[in-house]
Symmetry: C2
Subunit: 384 residues, 2 copies
């Protein structure tokens, strides 16, 4: 939509525009911003990212479409529009963030975002046949529910997202449950926005590749106590234990009481990425009886725990029945992932104790590009 | 959390930080931004809004806490932090947007946002007893579901949000349905974020003030054809008719088929704000047999339709049975609302045809502050 100043703030406008946006537009004359499109995905899979910032002296963009963390510089034209042409990119969903003179800025032309616990990122799609597995297609869709529950463990209201498969609402079937954990900095919405978990499940189920299941996405970010500096190793361990308590004492009982579930190990899976992978390892190696299917994406024992793990989890690591109770223990990581060292140490620990697992090393790094692929690969192996 | 540069990008970090944020922090030395808090709600209900933008020459903030659309200027200190102290504000939930040298900027310190079809706004809470009706309290919560359906009318996948009341999941009860429409610029998520509809319903139901019900929040923003300039009156009418088709032919049949509903007029309510109020009027005055409860918030016949309405809706306006079929026709608006003229013309039209309605003129303008109050006042009157 383009707006001419003459037409602004007639009664007609109110039907289309948010009051605040309207009020702001009424303050000023038209600018190149009014007709700008960003991100502008071109037919050749290159993407033009643009922002109107005539007074800025530096604009950069970072994102998971880059193979390294060094952001790209945008260039300014005479009208004050900064732009950079990236790609061609492999068709997929990407996240990006603009920095305008050092200020983290959501692309004003792109309302599609991913929410984290302390920051936002923009999202964009580059269409193509490669994204078929994660697209919003005309197949039967499950529902993704925002569920608030009262947590005694944390003494607060907490939220989770719950995917129920197509047909759940009208039927009486009981379903297996897949607990799917996000990474550090994210919350329980992440797997359903940038992670596209709902669409990936819809497409797998529609194609007969995955069993219909309930997917539970809890909030894995524990409330932090007031502190100076980074959390130390002791606090890290406390937070890890706190999440396990929350999952075992609050999330699982709530879900298995309130939904039509098959609440036994053969019908329970767990997987997590990064911090969520670490949480998955912790739960699996302290409560091996709960989940017959375990997935660890781009993770490993981080920090102090890496050295302690052999001791902390000795009982389960040395249990000769551990392997019998697991139908799948799947570990995946990108070859350029910066947590590769923690991953390798963890695999060495599993090897030392003859714990069986399947290992997949993909290309790429610590990105949602990989995590969506891992979800698409892991889910069909569940409950079979 | 504060970070010292020495500790950045150790393996420990990965548990807490999004990879992109981590990569970006690794690029630079610490700044005042690292410890900044915004919005900082003070004990006296004043709110400090702050942003670190050392290179900027002008920063302003607009939002619904202001009684007029003129944004406030922030002032810069020696460290490059811009700030403004607003209020004291009446305890409530507010939306705001920063402009940094003319660039619309989400507060980098505040990940809580409201999504629109073309832009974002930040949200913030000023706590106090006045917000009890809209707070996330330790009462039984309903679920808010993201529901995708295939629309034949629009030939695309469309989304709605559906609130199911506490106990829905485990019971067999059939419920009345309330169709709740958002305003221009918003989408189907608006009533559940800045509108706090889920929490308002939870609290009303927990207090016994409202009947348990299903609340359906469809996406009322119709896809716009490519065009130059503002939509003209003809296109406005097309979009209005398109929404009515979508509601009647797609949304209502889907909901009434897939959920445990009581699908008759006595158990159906509709209400909408601004554009959604206009849509509510259109549906009510073309299909008076569908809804016994009608709510119009901060609306009226906009633009060209105001003159046509007497003709377009003549059949229903002149139907002597119209009033009998309505248990409630509730119209509300703030006395400073900029659509007051359209509202008054609409009331005059209803008066002319002896259509009975209840009218409430509140303080304030065209804001979510009012719409949450209206929802809290309207809902208890339904299905009784």
């Amino acid at each position: 939509m383009r707006f001419s100043k003459q037409l602004l703030c007639t009664a007609v406008c109110t039907v289309f525009m948010a009051p605040l946006a309207m009020a702001q537009m009424a303050q000023r004359t038209p600018t190149p911003n009014d007709t700008l499109k960003s991100p502008n995905v071109l037919a050749d899979k290159r993407v033009l990212i643009q922002i109107y910032a005539p007074k800025a002296s530096e604009v950069t963009v970072g994102g998971d479409f880059l193979s390294n963390p060094q952001p790209l510089s945008l260039k300014k034209n005479e009208q004050g529009v900064w732009s950079v042409l990236i790609g061609p990119l492999k068709p997929d969903y990407y996240s990006y963030t603009l920095m305008v003179d050092g200020v983290r800025t959501m692309d004003p032309k792109n309302p599609v975002i991913k929410q984290g616990i302390s920051s936002l990122e923009n999202m964009m799609a580059v269409p193509g046949p490669e994204t078929a597995f994660e697209d919003n297609k005309a197949v039967p869709h499950g529902e993704v529910r925002e569920v608030w529950y009262s947590s005694n463990t944390l003494n607060m209201m907490r939220r989770m997202h719950v995917y129920t498969p197509p047909g759940y609402e009208k039927g009486n079937t009981k379903y297996p449950i897949f607990y799917l954990l996000h990474g550090g900095g994210d919350d329980d919405s992440g797997w359903n926005t940038i992670g596209r978990a709902g669409f990936i499940l819809d497409n797998l189920i529609a194609a007969g590749k995955a069993k219909p299941m309930i997917v539970v996405m809890p909030n894995g970010s524990m409330p932090l106590p007031p502190m100076n500096g980074m959390p130390n190793a002791q606090m890290m361990n406390q937070l890890r234990d706190l999440f396990s308590s929350e999952l075992l004492k609050e999330v699982m009982p709530y879900v298995e009481k309130n939904y039509r579930t098959l609440p036994n190990a053969e019908n329970r899976a767990i997987a997590g990425l990064s911090m969520g992978g670490f949480q998955t390892l912790d739960v699996t190696l302290t409560h091996p009886e709960l989940f017959n299917y375990v997935g660890v994406f781009s993770s490993g024992f981080f920090g102090a725990t890496a050295d302690e793990a052999d001791t902390k989890y000795a009982k389960v690591l040395n249990d000769p029945n551990f392997n019998k109770g697991k139908k799948l223990f799947w570990v995946s990581i990108g070859k350029d992932d910066f947590v590769m060292d923690a991953n390798k140490k963890t695999l060495a620990l599993l090897d030392k104790h003859n714990i069986k697992y399947q290992y997949k090393e993909s290309s790429g790094g610590h990105t949602w590009i990989n995590w969506r692929q891992y979800l698409n690969e892991y889910t069909p192996m569940l409950f079979k």
